[in-house]
Subunit: 153 residues, 3 copies
């Protein structure tokens, strides 16, 4: 059976460096088996995959890609407190989409995160999820994703 890291490699991906918090907090904290990540924005090699409002400045397809990058960054945050992605279960995912007032496909955007978690963690990646459309996000990010995970290993 392959590990999450091996499945990431199979997708041509790897866990990025942890994105340093914009401010006075940590990328993730662990309490017993539970892990709470900070809200992750789609930083990739030091810059955001997209900024602006989805449905106006950003297409749904690009926003999906943003959510996927956020999920990858969340894996880095989780691994920063667990040391590994093996035995990690994704419980709850919150997806905030900076949205034009008439953009209502937040669920399709959020699938960028949900589907990557499924691909990488298998049945341990199947989670509950909320997706909402917000006015604006930090640094004008198009998407932000937060995760509650559990170490079941």
């Amino acid at each position: 059976m392959s590990t999450p890291e091996e499945r990431l490699a199979g997708l041509g991906l790897s866990v990025p460096d942890v994105v340093p918090p914009v401010a006075a907090y940590l990328p993730a904290v662990r309490s017993g088996a539970m892990v709470y990540t900070a809200g992750q924005i789609p930083m990739r090699e030091g810059s955001l995959v997209a900024t602006g409002k989805v449905g106006a400045d950003v297409t749904q397809e690009t926003a999906y890609e943003c959510a996927r990058q956020c999920a990858l960054n969340a894996m880095a945050a989780i691994r920063s407190v667990t040391g590994t992605l093996e035995g990690v279960r994704i419980l709850k995912v919150g997806v905030f989409v900076a949205s034009a007032p008439d953009f209502t496909a937040q669920a399709a955007v959020a699938n960028g995160a949900s589907e990557l978690f499924g691909e990488v963690f298998g049945e341990l990646g199947v989670h509950a999820r909320s997706a909402v459309g917000v006015a604006v996000l930090p640094l004008d990010s198009a998407v932000e994703v937060e995760v509650i995970a559990e170490v079941v290993g």
Copy 2:
């Protein structure tokens, strides 16, 4: 002492079928005693109770009814992983209200969920809550509700 299901019946309500997720996730997940629901929108018999922005397209009264339906759907989601509502404690409720910029009665809307939880679960239904006004919700839903619950039975 009556069960939550009996109290629902006393209100002329019953636990609906679980609303199928719009996307790649589950209605609820359980980890030990903890249950996290997905964000619930006010689906009733296959369509949303209301769409649009509260304070513009949707009245406060209708939005209250939406929040109540979301709570009912959350009970279905919880029961899908617990098998029963007996011994379920509602800990935290998050209410997102798609809001016109000058609509500030999110708390009154959210009471549609909070009061139903109180009626159905009694003292196990008294929870902490956040209510916020967001730009837009999936499928143009007027309200979305997520729940963290606990099995204390």
Copy 3:
């Protein structure tokens, strides 16, 4: 070693009275070691520190002060179920900033809460955090903060 209450006093602050919920819920609930607070708005001596949208009606500096007051109110909420702030660990902080569409410094605003938690709880105050910009908040509050904490004492 000083207690959180002593560190608050050193900052010229004290834990305020618990802000009564606007509606049908509790300021905080406890489940075992876990504490979930309700969303806290910046009530100070019975009125909000600021109302309106940050970046339009409210400056970033005033919004920072709002977040700090929300954090203080969250401490009151936590203490209402723990009896003390000693041995309390702040795990996750969610910050909602009512934002003008072009205001993107939600992280700087949220630092008003994060930095106070750090000052008061020391290493037990270092948390994961999400900050988002929302359309509008209850009672037209400029900021709302929710907390997940843990009793480690």
